[in-house]
Amino acid sequence: MPDLDYRQKAWSAALIVLFFVAWELFCLMTGMSDLVLPRPSQVFVTLFEKFPILWPHILQTLATTMIGFVLGVGLGVVLGAVIGVSKTAYDTAYPLLVGFSSKPKIAVVPIFVLWFGAGTVPAILTSIAISIFPVVVNVSTGLATTEPELEDVLRTLKAKKFDILWNVGLPRAMPYFFASLKVAVTLAFVGTVLAETVASNRGIGNMMMIASSTFNVPLVFAGLFVLATLGICLYVGFSLTEKHFTGWAHRKSEIVTV
């Protein structure tokens, strides 16, 4: 198994390198202007040179995203638990949830700006608004689909509702929860950058807006690269945590050794 694992990782890395090489060659061969599509090498150079300028923006975006993400997930778990423990609440609230989660999130940014002014607050709120729904939907679904037989084990012991939730419901919902975390963390980035581009004077989104208005296209792409890297790092981080906590749900078929 580990051999295969490493081989697959090597292929993934090779694919990324290949992607950049192909991009570079494409630009060189077609003589593409760097105002339209800069070469990756240019982007990396810009990234390196402008890093001192980029760094505060990176921190700003990362901090905003993480605050929004943590609050969004926290609220999402609570809300999901409340909705998920009762079948009636689940059936009643689900249409409303779907309605909220399917609205285009960009539409709420002007409202937040109207309420709280331009700056960090609307960005945090947008990333909360965008990352909360996958968590609510998944946690409540995980809880609502818990096999009653599993709960009966505790119910016959006269366990309190909270004990059942804590010992059966929540662990059972963990795979659903972690699946939603991976979605939520990337969405939280989308929310932050969205709000930053619309109404903020700091952050990667804002920096990219300014760079594009001065036709500093390599810097715009440098911003994109930074966002992609941050997204990948957080995604990987949560995947590892997920493996640790929900290994039981992701097991491969193993031969029973008796």
Binding site: E147, E149, L150, D152, V153, L154, R155, T156, L157, K158, A159, D163, N167, V168, P171, R172, M174, T246, W248, A249, R251, E254, V256, V258
Partner: protein, 293 residues
């Protein structure tokens, strides 16, 4: 081989009142699922008294409400009419120590076998308040002692999916017993096992019962199992179930598998079989009558 005592008391006569205190009492209890036109009667009005320390086996055709009685006693189902008293109190208000095992082993998949077995200790007092302190020492030893008793020594740190069905059912029995319940409710716990494992577990269960004398209510399809384990057998009619016959089994204990092939034992089995056969025919006739009416 010791000679079995005759089962003269197995006669369909009411069971004489016992001196032991009553552990479980159903008085005029019935259960109906759903309401109005879609109501399904699961259990007809039933009265049943079980004394402390008795081993009662409930047999009957499938779907007759045997499991419903068990679920009534465990408090998972509320009676539609009548009263269910367990340990001197109405079921809903009770915090009595009960161990329950279903046909499905229902081990929680994210816990090791050991932690699954220790689950009741995490929930039920007086163990609950000591759980944090003792879970790595005394409680773990307790779990492993039980595992050893059912032949699962060394499997405590496995996960449920790493064990076979028979092994899971053994673990299930451990989980029902770990909090030293005064009452054991078993819903066809050996139903899905092969003959040999089943007979082995009968003997283990019998040993445990002789040692601790808990009140046991065992629901089973297997007449041999009922006669091997039960001190008393209740035969139920087809749905909606009621108790057709309630009699004592007086074979000496500890009973052995070899005894189940002796004439007295076989005769008892046949008697039980006849009861259930009649109940099945009666219900089929009733259904046919409904169809033609």
């Amino acid at each position: 081989m010791m000679r079995m005592q005759p089962h003269s008391e197995f006669s369909g006569l009411p069971v004489p009142a016992s001196a032991a205190p009553i552990a479980i009492e159903l008085s005029e209890a019935s259960v109906t699922f759903g309401r109005g036109a879609r109501a399904v009667p699961a259990l007809a009005t039933t009265s049943l008294r079980i004394a402390d320390g008795e081993f009662v086996a409930l047999v009957g055709p499938s779907g007759c409400g045997k499991s419903t009685i068990l679920r009534l006693v465990s408090g998972l189902v509320q009676p539609s009419t009548g009263v269910v008293i367990v340990g001197g109190r109405e079921v809903a208000a009770r915090a009595l120590r009960v161990g329950m095992a279903f046909q499905n082993p229902t081990m929680l998949p994210w816990m090791t076998i050991e932690r699954n077995i220790m689950l009741p200790l995490k929930i039920v007092e007086p163990f609950r308040s000591q759980f944090r302190k003792l879970r790595k020492t005394e409680f773990r030893d307790k779990a492993n002692a039980l595992l050893e008793q059912v032949g699962l020594k060394g499997f405590g740190n496995r996960y449920p999916w790493q064990l076979s069905g028979g092994m899971l059912q053994r673990a299930n029995l451990c989980r029902a017993l770990i909090h030293e319940p005064r009452m054991l409710l078993l819903d066809e716990p050996f139903g899905a096992l092969d003959q040999f494992t089943r007979e082995e577990l009968w003997s283990i269960l019998q040993e445990l019962w002789i040692a601790h004398k808990p009140t046991v209510l065992l629901v089973t399809h297997d007449l041999r199992e009922a006669a091997f384990l039960g001190s008393r057998i209740c035969v139920m009619s087809a749905r909606p179930g009621r108790i057709l016959d309630d009699s004592r089994v007086t074979f000496a204990r500890p009973r052995t598998v070899a005894m189940t092939f002796e004439p007295d034992f076989v005769a008892l089995n046949q008697k039980l079989r006849a009861f259930i056969e009649d109940a099945r025919t009666a219900s089929r006739d009733a259904l046919a009558a409904q169809g033609t009416a």
